[in-house]
Symmetry: D2
Subunit: 135 residues, 4 copies
């Protein structure tokens, strides 16, 4: 992770640490993060819990957002929808996120989660952008 | 939790255990689960990570689904959308899930997540139902 | 429609008129609108086009929003998700909409569409609220 | 429209006709349809009603689905989410739809709606695929 990584994404991130999420890249309205599938991330069926893939998308969207925001701006997730295509039992998950529209007050993003190059889930979300003083 | 709890929901659930999710009730197309907010569930802003609330909804929907399925049926999440209303820093999260439509092959569910009685997030999801033999 | 109906909802509404949508009630963050199913609203399968039910929800959400906004505020749809439960061939469709959360800048709403008392579709949407001067 | 156009998409389509929707291409899991903005498609704010763009997406998804289905299969919309980026007052709307995942029983699709080359809305939907005999 280079200097492009905002402070918010490189330091304190307890839940990201808990699930083993790592940012690989974070710049220009784009982010890429990865996660190694381990037993602790499985659901009762023995496959990766849907909440793990979702958490990659939500975190990846936050990372992408911070690359396009001003110093006096904050953002918050309005909503995210995630669709699942394939169950994953092991290996590395990669989540690539892009901003597809950046309005003044609302931005729309998409995250594609792949395993071994295969698309396993896709998320579509919106974030609210506001001035720190509005907070 | 009584006998109504399906085996799937009361035993092996590593990710549920990791985040501290507990089922309180699970019957008749309904489920209720809770989670104590701890430091490990926080995001970089010091509030509960959106993925935690999402994971409660996804798990709660699975729990509600199993109460209405036949022995030779399985289900899988098609998609879930979650909307956030309020950031949470501490306390207990409660997630109540109901099936709002049970078709032959697709069911629709909703989860309401509250903190101290206040609605903090709401999820709307669809699940695919299929015979074990189709799997 | 009484005095509670905002001017926006009772006058110029060409697309609403095209599909035959009528507001029955619109007050206190709630709206109810109806529509008679006719041949012109059918899709190639001979059932009501999904876009018709969606249009009821989107319009109903707009109607509910105007009951809770200040004179110097405007709103715009951020996103809406709609889930379908049952195809409809004839009769009256009723769409009931409620605001489920009203934040300072974003509101969340739900619409239930029924036919003969049976839930046939449900929508979940978010709207952005902004001052006219921001426009 | 050539022979690739399924019968369902080229003939009886009352609601499509009502809003002036025309399929330009429909093959290989892809569809493109267009629509001329006219006064009858406007909402109370004088811009194209959100339900019009949604109807393009829903219809375009149906068109794309029929290019990948067997003769003994039918499909039905499970749910669609649409996000809006920009209001449109006039001109031609173009909706391009692609299947992003085709499972055995559920397919996921995306539609991008543009006006003058500018992305104005994007939809993400899921369709259920089933044998005619199951119907």
């Amino acid at each position: 992770m280079g200097k492009e990584m905002p402070a918010d994404m490189s330091g304190f991130n307890p839940f990201g640490d808990l699930i083993g999420l790592q940012f690989v890249q974070c710049e220009g309205g784009y982010s890429r993060c990865t996660l190694e599938v381990g037993q602790k991330l499985l659901n009762p069926h023995g496959v990766v819990h849907g909440g793990v893939m979702y958490s990659m998308a939500d975190t990846g969207m936050g990372g992408a957002m911070y690359t396009v925001m001003e110093k006096d701006e904050l953002c918050a997730t309005i909503e995210i929808k995630i669709v699942y295509f394939k169950a994953v039992r092991e290996g590395t998950l990669v989540c690539v996120t892009r901003i597809i529209n950046r309005g003044k007050r609302v931005a729309a993003l998409e995250s594609e989660i792949t395993s071994g190059g295969r698309l396993v889930a896709k998320a579509s979300g919106t974030y609210s952008i506001f001035a720190v003083k509005e907070h």
